[in-house]
């Protein structure tokens, strides 16, 4: 299963779970929960961090954290 890190800018996915048992609590509080639709909007000019769109707002996190979140790709409609 891919992680959020594997998505390219423009891709969308649904969170399915976490790689480790103890994902960063702050990300969960921000709403990155199983079932949530995430869009990777872009990467920062130096490749890291990435800009996500979730629940109607933009959240920027590092690839390192993105790699902790399992996603299922949502085919472009």
């Amino acid at each position: 299963m891919p992680t959020l890190r594997d998505l390219d800018p423009g891709d969308r996915g649904t969170v399915t779970g976490y790689v480790a048992d103890d994902p960063p609590g702050r990300l969960l509080e921000m709403g990155l929960l199983p079932g949530t639709l995430v869009e990777v909007v872009r990467r920062a000019p130096l490749g890291d961090p990435i800009d996500l769109k979730i629940r109607g707002f933009h959240l920027s996190i590092r690839k390192h954290e993105a790699a902790a979140i399992l996603v299922e790709r949502v085919p472009a409609s």
Binding site: D21, D22, P23, P24, G25, R26, L27, L28, E29, M30, G31, L33, P34, E39, V41, R42, R43, A44, P45, L46, G47, D48, P49, D51, R55, G56, F57, H58, L59, S60, I61, R62, H64, E65
Partner: protein
């Protein structure tokens, strides 16, 4: 909760996620002008004011809190909000009512915190803010439906223009009933454990209401920092929590995620039922399209560099006309005072001390205002948060984080808010490093020094006809400080603060049109602060300095006296010989003698008298207290190319940098025989050593500038660093390493330059 239903609130707290408009609303409610800007983490400490207007609750204390995403604080600013809301702020009772400010365009995440505050059991009024933005985004929010579902009053408002304020005031006229517990539920396996732990906690701490005990039990179960304080207060509970955790882990229950899943699980359908979308949410907004350019892989960094270059160039060149006008005004004022006041030491004190000292610093006000104007634009549009996004990777290499960018950029204005802003950094190591290097960013108090010496000693030509050398020199100084901040951060990360890697989780707010009125007021406030500072500190210091420069008075030098008498004697002799030649009496020669010869003789006399007076003034200032001090430390500063006056200036600038400008102005003014207020720039250029060499060569100027880039000459910075780190150790280290850098690099510049034959 022992709160009767009809009391008037005495204490109202504003809580909510970062950047939702809490401070905008606070300013509206209290009539104050606290800082508002479009990035998360503007407010980092509790601010308090009184409810304005007329209504039952008028005069109640209103407390603005830092933004927080949850009641599980991750950084110091969030901790402040948490402490106030749960009543752990020492000496502060819990608020009577909490106004939960929520962003209507982003309800789900905003309501997460609201459900936590509802769990606490405090009376709540929800202020549904940014209704204008919601409308623009095609969102229709059913406020009454939301009030129904949450069980608390919900008032739609637009804090930016005051819509809905009256309704909110009415909702605050009396304390609403404490809300019922919101209907979200934990997964059964965890709920059961929390109930058990809550019961145990109530046993151990009987004065805790049951609902509150449940809140604390859930927090302690899922968060280490929230568990820690119970170790002393309720050791049995503490042990039970650890046991419960082990048991849940054994059974593979994801208890740490239970709270988020429970709350969001309840909020999802709730928000669905009260929000109607009239636009496709996946459509790119204007803000998204702006971002496509400003954070573009290639264009983004170039634009960022361009913006900074533009700011520094503009600060240097656009301010010139206004600065010239102020400078001329100061000179005129000095001459005016000279004209109307009787001669004497009081007149000297006023003109040479106060007017010259304060005036020469006030000259730089236009530059400082321009700097604040541009930084204000960056903050208000939302660009500031993007700079963090763009810079994070680079900053991480240096031992910082993207989240350090906002504190560091703020430090270009002043290190004090910069150091405070570091509270938003969740990682303690990142926060300490950011604090330690923030004073290396050139703050606005260095501007007067930079400008004075650049204007005097850097040629005014332009590279390729557009990039002025002086502007470039200015940029170079800012770059020097910034690069050194990065280097220092890297050294600190590598050798001093070892610690775990940090996270970077930052919300990127939508771009908003800057509110010029806001930027304007911030400039006015800044101008006031600057003038008051000039008026108080610099005025006082200038007077002290004038005394130190004027006393003790030097004994008359017999040699100079002799020269003066000699000049008078020569003059009389010349007149006598002219009289003899013309056959006139000594008295007649002045009125009837040959004009040319008499005038020549007089001019000769005057020249000698002037030279003697200048030498006496110079002698006086060398003999004065400040002269003695300056000469005492001159040997230490000599290797950097500094004479005793510069040395005295640097010494006086240790409390505040810009003081060197007024010190030099006073020194040169007292040192002038006629005591006119001097054009400091000209006086610097004209100053000579006794052997005729100029005191300031361009090399000396560069050495001095480098010294000011690095040296930490600011008491307030040390004081705030002490407060934010809770020890004198770090401020002391900060001062020492920056002084070492200043001395070392100035030495290198001056000695190296001399070795290369540059002056």
């Amino acid at each position: 909760m022992p709160v009767s239903v009809t009391t008037v609130p005495q204490r109202i707290a504003l809580a909510g996620n970062p950047n939702v408009g809490k401070t905008t609303l606070f300013n509206l409610l209290t009539g104050l002008r606290q800082k508002v800007a479009n990035y998360p983490g503007v407010t980092v400490e509790r601010k308090s004011g009184r409810l304005a207007g007329d209504g039952p609750a008028t005069g109640a204390e209103v407390v603005d809190l830092p933004g927080t995403y949850s009641l599980n604080p991750k950084s110091l600013d969030e901790r402040v909000a948490y402490d106030v809301l749960v009543g752990r702020m020492p000496g502060e009772p819990v608020p009577d009512v909490v106004v939960c400010v929520v962003d209507a365009t982003n309800l789900e995440r905003n309501l997460y915190l609201v459900t936590q505050i509802l769990d606490l059991g405090l009376p709540v009024v929800v202020a549904l803010n940014m209704m204008d933005a919601a409308e623009a985004a095609g969102l229709e929010v059913d406020a009454d439906g939301l009030a129904d579902r949450l069980g608390v009053p919900v008032v739609p408002i637009v804090a930016r223009d005051g819509r809905g304020l009256e309704a909110l005031r009415q909702a605050l006229a009396e304390v609403p009933a404490p809300p019922d517990r919101p209907g979200w539920t934990l997964m059964p396996a965890v709920a059961e454990v929390v109930d058990r732990l809550a019961a145990q906690l109530t046993d151990e701490v009987p004065d805790l209401p049951p609902r509150r005990a449940r809140f604390e039990a859930l927090g302690a179960l899922t968060s280490d920092p929230l568990l820690a304080p119970w170790k002393e207060r309720a050791p049995g509970f503490h042990a039970a929590v650890l046991q419960a955790r082990a048991a849940l882990e054994e059974r593979k229950v994801p208890y740490r995620q239970a709270e988020m899943m429970g709350r969001y699980g309840w909020l999802g359908p709730l928000v669905q039922s009260v929000v109607t979308r009239h636009k496709d949410p996946s459509e790119a907004t204007l803000s998204d399209r702006i971002d496509a350019v400003l954070t573009h892989k290639v264009a983004g960094p170039i634009l960022f560099g361009g913006v900074l270059l533009l700011i520094f160039q503009a600060v240097f060149s656009w301010a010139t006309p206004a600065m010239d006008a102020i400078e001329a005004g100061v000179v005129l004022l000095g001459q005016g005072v000279r004209a109307v006041m009787p001669d004497g030491w009081l007149e000297d004190l006023l003109v040479e001390g106060a007017i010259t000292g304060v005036g020469n610093v006030l000259v730089f006000l236009p530059q400082i205002l321009l700097l604040f104007f541009f930084l204000g634009l960056m903050e208000d549009t939302g660009y500031m948060a993007r700079t963090a996004f763009i810079m994070d990777r680079l900053m991480r290499r240096m031992g910082l984080s993207g989240a350090s960018v906002v504190p560091l950029l703020s430090s270009y204005a002043c290190a004090i808010p910069g150091i405070m802003a570091a509270r938003t950094l969740a990682n303690e190591r990142d926060r300490l490093i950011t604090i330690m290097v923030a004073p290396l960013m050139s703050c606005s108090a260095r501007l007067p020094v930079y400008t004075l010496f650049i204007a005097a000693f850097i040629p005014s030509g332009a590279l390729f006809g557009v990039l002025g050398y002086q502007g470039l020199a200015m940029v170079a100084l800012y770059v020097l400080g910034t690069v050194m901040a990065f280097v220092a951060a890297w050294v600190l990360k590598t050798f001093v603060f070892k610690g775990d890697a940090s996270m970077f989780v930052m919300e990127l707010p939508p771009y908003r049109l800057p509110r010029l009125r806001q930027v304007f007021w911030r400039m006015i406030d800044r101008a006031k602060a600057f003038v008051v500072r000039a008026g108080k500190i610099i005025f006082g210091l200038s007077i002290v300095l004038w005394f130190m420069a004027s006393f003790p008075q030097a004994d008359p030098d017999p040699l100079l006296e002799a020269r003066r008498e000699q000049a008078e004697a020569t003059f009389t002799a010349r007149l006598d010989s002219i009289a003899a030649a013309e056959g006139l009496s000594a008295a007649e020669v002045i009125t009837r003698g040959p004009m040319e010869a008499v005038q020549a003789a007089d001019a000769e006399r005057q020249a000698v008298l002037d030279a003697v007076a200048a030498e006496e003034a110079g002698r006086q200032i060398r003999q004065s207290l400040i002269g003695r001090i300056g000469r005492a430390i001159e040997p230490v500063m000599r290797p950097l190319g500094f004479d005793w006056k510069i040395s005295a200036g640097i010494l006086s600038a240790f409390a505040a940098r810009e003081v060197i400008v007024s010190t030099l102005a006073t020194l040169y003014s007292v040192g002038e025989d006629d005591g006119e207020p001097v054009m400091l720039r000209e006086a610097l250029k004209a100053d000579r050593y006794p052997d005729g060499r100029p005191v300031y060569t361009p090399l000396v100027a560069v050495s001095l500038l480098v010294f000011f880039v690095f040296a930490l000459q600011c008491m307030s910075t040390l004081a705030i660093a002490r407060r934010e780190t809770n020890t004198w150790k770090w401020p002391a280290v900060m001062w020492l390493y920056m002084f070492a850098l200043a001395y070392g690099f100035s030495l290198l510049v001056y000695q190296g330059g001399q070795a290369l034959g540059w002056g």
